[in-house]
Symmetry: C2
Subunit: 131 residues, 2 copies
DNA sequence: CCGCATCCTATGAGATACTG
DNA sequence: CAGTATCTCATAGGATGCGG
């Protein structure tokens, strides 16, 4: 079941189906579109961080959302979680190779966004002024 | 107010602040991460379509979400809306130049997603099997 | 044909309090 | 320190019915 999309498209040689909720593009969009994911990856891009270091470096994030997002990222293989059985406990989060390659994707989006933000904001202002 | 981010970063020469909700990257992520936006842009990439043509070509979309998404895209200057004062009414939607350039961004995401989906799904399966 | 208005529900996400 | 658990509220999104 987990592999249904993969089976469909890669093994059975069908074309990717963007309308499928398991479509890779949708999978990635849903992940990076998350409110906090990009911020967390941004912080980890400079190196390993502990839980509370991350919490402090991402302004406004709650413990719940940090935990939740980190779990999802670990599940996707984008970060690794290393636990030290010390007192007090210590947990480190590091980007994997996969996670590091994701930085470039976000950069591409940022480049497009920054070159076009002026047009978009102007279009929005023009649209809104009609009402 | 609408231009606050733009003023801050481009006119006042400050660096982009990804933590600001008006940050261009966040603006674009929020737009393309929308459940339907990518699908609609995908359909329009092959040419102009009418409202009900779009509705039929995007399986599962409701009238509400189609209207809502199209409005947002028009507001952002990504599509243009042309109304024909006929009976029955006819409304056509077409990608703007800006909208067409967005296709390439989505393609970049798709490329990354498709090259890495296998690893991600395997990581997820491995993670889930632990519990 | 192309919507808008309304109601309803599920999920997302913040605040708060508690534990190994 | 690094979480979990629960409560609550806001929003997104689906279903349905009406209107120009």
């Amino acid at each position: 079941m987990l592999y249904s999309y993969y089976l469909e498209t890669y093994i059975m040689k069908k074309i990717p189906n963007i309308y499928n909720a398991n479509c890779p593009t949708r999978l990635i969009l849903d992940r990076i579109a998350d409110k906090w994911t990009v911020l967390i990856i941004g912080q980890l891009s400079s190196g390993t961080l502990r839980f509370n270091e991350l919490k402090r470096s991402v302004p406004g994030i709650t413990q719940k959302m940090l935990t939740q997002t980190l779990k999802g990222l670990e599940r996707d293989g984008i970060i690794v979680r290393k636990i030290y059985a010390t007192v007090p406990p210590k947990v480190e989060y590091t980007l994997t190779k996969l996670g590091k390659s994701l930085i470039r994707v976000v950069e591409a989006i940022r480049t497009w966004a920054e070159t076009n933000v002026k047009d978009i904001l102007q279009s929005q202002a023009k649209y809104d002024s009609k009402f």
